[in-house]
Symmetry: C2
Subunit: 495 residues, 2 copies
């Protein structure tokens, strides 16, 4: 394949993003399937690691996986009015089953009595089954999750960030009280925060969405918002308090401890392959992909350096031995023994693919019992490491990188976050087309003001930060209208 040249971030951020994905062979547009993508092995391996980290936490908190149908009867969509409105335009619709050949051409055969939509999300079909399975408070809480593909026919698509088909998990739970459902919503939001912080090394702000930005059919939507390197916000995952809306739409009732029938209280929460987009835009650089070690499909690339054949044998033997030792420590190690390729070209390739640590071994290293190591990011210095304690040293370097990436992203966010109190300053900040900031400003709480600010600046309210996030609560005046405001909210341009 032709080599991909990576456009520098400063020149064209959007193009840089695409180039990083192409150069690391993470994914590509499907083209022949409108708005959809193919996730290639290196991209899917990252997704498998994200899945495993989330799945473990879901199971530790008592959730079980299940699988519900891909297709949803069209009539189901109508049962919850807001939900139907919210998703109607985005649905792919199955109208026929079976094909026939007419004059050598394939044509549609049997039209279905009722069309199905390809699930854009599964609240409706899962609601139908919850109604069958739940009868008493003893059946609650019901804590399910599914890993699957969903489809939303989007007009403007972008690899990982917004594609027609994407892969995600959707948790769906039913509870006996609103308080329990609210606890669940917060618990799952915290799990997303933990995975962003501890695994993706991407700092996020937890908050509530405004009414305009809520999930269609929810009482409240909570989110985690991350800053990308262009200062824009990316919504990283959502957790919804569905109240009794779907319970009423699908007649999901239970007999409570007092013997009275009531509708269940539900939640749903999801995170998708979009997380890979967040990962790329938070850490990568003009040399390509940067991965936190916890998500790297390959942790260490060992590049042997030699000129003569006898050197090659000696060096490769040591490289394989070191690789074996590191593998025993649980690391994934690639010994790059490709012939006819210069070490520099190999360095460049592993760099583009985001391998956290590169180790070089040459004849002199073998004699000295050392190797040369270089981290992919956060530290430009090459290090000479003794072979005897390589496992320990590599472990330290990978731990360092995992933490340093988070600290770097946190510092970047801090440097690009401001509190703004005047409308003039607000407008000025969001004028810049290339870089933008997170702005904490007062808002009067009305949808009209929210809309007016969006139209004037393209900045939207990303969230009403939860307690402990963003600046300490203090009353003030709305940056746009001057009306009273209880606390600052987070404004940003967004993906």
């Amino acid at each position: 394949m032709a080599e991909v040249v990576i456009t520098p971030r400063a020149k064209d951020y959007a193009q840089w993003y695409q180039d990083v994905i192409a150069a690391a062979e993470l994914a590509e547009p499907a083209n022949v399937v409108r708005g959809c993508m193919v996730v290639r092995p290196h991209g899917w391996a990252i997704w498998e690691k994200i899945q495993s980290e989330l799945d473990r936490r879901f199971k530790e908190t008592g959730h079980q996986n299940a699988a519900f149908p891909l297709l949803i009867p069209l009539s189901f969509l109508q049962k919850e009015a807001q939900h139907a409105t919210g998703f109607a335009m985005e649905c792919a619709v199955v109208t026929h089953a079976g094909l026939k050949t007419v004059d050598g051409k394939i044509e549609l055969k049997n039209e279905l009595e009722e069309p199905y939509v390809v699930r854009p999300t599964s609240e409706t079909i899962i609601g139908h089954f919850f109604a069958k399975w739940i009868d008493s408070y003893r059946d609650l809480p019901l804590l399910l999750n599914q890993w699957c593909n969903v489809m939303r026919w989007e007009l403007r698509t972008r690899l990982f960030l917004r594609t027609g088909e994407f892969w995600w998990q959707e948790g769906h739970t039913a509870h006996a009280s609103h308080a329990e459902a609210e606890e669940e919503v917060a618990r799952m939001l915290d799990i997303y925060r933990d995975v962003y912080h501890d695994v993706l090394a991407v700092p996020v702000i937890r908050g509530a969405k405004t009414a305009n930005e809520r999930f269609a059919g929810a009482l409240e939507t909570y989110c985690v918002e991350a800053m990308m390197q262009d200062g824009k916000a990316l919504q990283g995952a959502t957790s919804h308090d569905l109240g009794q809306n779907f319970g009423k739409a699908f007649n999901i009732t239970f007999q409570n401890k007092e013997g009275v029938r009531d509708f269940v209280w539900q939640t749903s929460w999801g995170a998708s392959t979009r997380m890979i987009g967040a990962l790329i835009m938070a850490h990568s650089d003009d040399n390509g992909l940067v991965l936190p070690p916890k998500l790297a499909p390959i942790h260490v690339a060992i590049v042997p350096i030699y000129k003569k054949d006898d050197e090659r044998v000696r060096v490769l033997e040591v490289a394989q031995k070191l690789a074996g030792e590191l593998r025993d420590d649980g690391l994934t190690v690639k010994v790059d023994d490709r012939e006819g390729m210069k070490p520099g070209a190999k360095y460049y390739e592993w760099e583009r693919k985001g391998v956290p640590l590169r180790i070089e071994v040459g004849p002199r290293d073998v004699d000295a019992g050392t190797v040369v190591a270089k981290l992919r990011a956060c530290d430009d210095q090459k290090k000479v490491l003794p072979m005897a304690t390589l496992g320990v040293e590599v472990g330290k370097l990978l731990d360092f990188l995992q933490k340093a990436l988070f600290e770097r992203a946190l510092a970047f966010r801090a440097a690009n976050t401001v509190q703004v109190d005047s409308w003039a300053d607000f407008v000025e900040i969001f004028k810049d087309e290339k870089t933008t900031k997170f702005v904490y400003a007062h808002w009067d709480g009305t949808g009209e003001t929210e809309q007016a600010i969006k139209e004037a600046t393209k900045a939207t309210i990303r969230c009403l930060p939860l307690s402990g996030e963003g600046p300490a609560p203090e009353a003030g005046k709305c940056v746009r209208t001057g009306n009273p405001s209880a606390r600052r909210v987070l404004f940003a341009k967004n993906y």
Copy 2:
């Protein structure tokens, strides 16, 4: 939920199968989505274990996972003629995107220029991308796999065995020579065999399909065939030698070492949630599900036995301690401390769900430092085990069960397999509607004879056994026509 009564196998085998699935809460028909199913948590947990066992073996043999689009342009299906014919009638078709509300009712909005089919399998769409990615022999072999849902609009459906939507893995590989592709086909068939034998504890026979039963578009289809408890055969997985058929249809070429362009040689291979059906029908009994320990979501259920409150405290404390020790050994353990439920009812529930080992702990056991253990199958005796060495003893019992299930299934198959040389005997054996056998008989190799035998007896050729499978090769005369035959083939009624 109402308790499910399990119909005995001898009374109605098909009903027994459904009852076992319902009683163990593995899955249920979706009903509102024609022919589709919901896989419930206990069923999905078994699937996750099967996935993990297969996935590890795929990765160890150099395969990588990726994800290709759910939807396939209708025109792609037409490019390989046999493939199109084979799958046309089974395709669900997406014709519209977007819905609108007309007089409060949802209606379809935008008709697509070209319809898409929901993938029944992915050779065509993957062929399209292989053509983009493969240019030289250096790009080969390309060894990919995807875990996904597929859809085939079947007329008669049955949970796990044949459903509209099902979950599977499909491997797709491209090679520089036919010999390499043939090796891959055999390698993957052997992996399926290994997982059936070592994990599902279900013996299988590897063989080639007849031309009539080949995958649409393949040169050869190989399969593993398992015997169910009614003597019928179940096709457990398939591995296809696609030759250059898809290479030619999708123009997938490479430059070989000699600088000449040639079409790639491809394989595909798949195993699905059908494996759960095989598992159920091979091992389960009139008391419900029986699981080999390697696939059991819960290995051990500990049931505390007590009458008074102080007994309860003592017994539960010990039960939890023992559970902790077993968990440290890597086992999944459930301490069934539910109140208001008698031990017998608990035994019955874990039995229905197929938990391999039940442990009872009462006050006297606590005093004596022992527990009572009972295996789910293959051994009716209750055993008194010392707490001090419980981990070791439990490990032995689970190992015993894993092996004993395989041996039992192997013995059952041996007892129900015959060699038949006369047409009268052949007809007689397949007359019985309730139980049936595996029959090794000579066949003249023609499709006409194969069809005539099927029409007369409902028995089909399950496979032409590979070397080492079934009776030793010996020449003979076709059981139907008397024409010469090089070796016996496997006949059976099938799922």
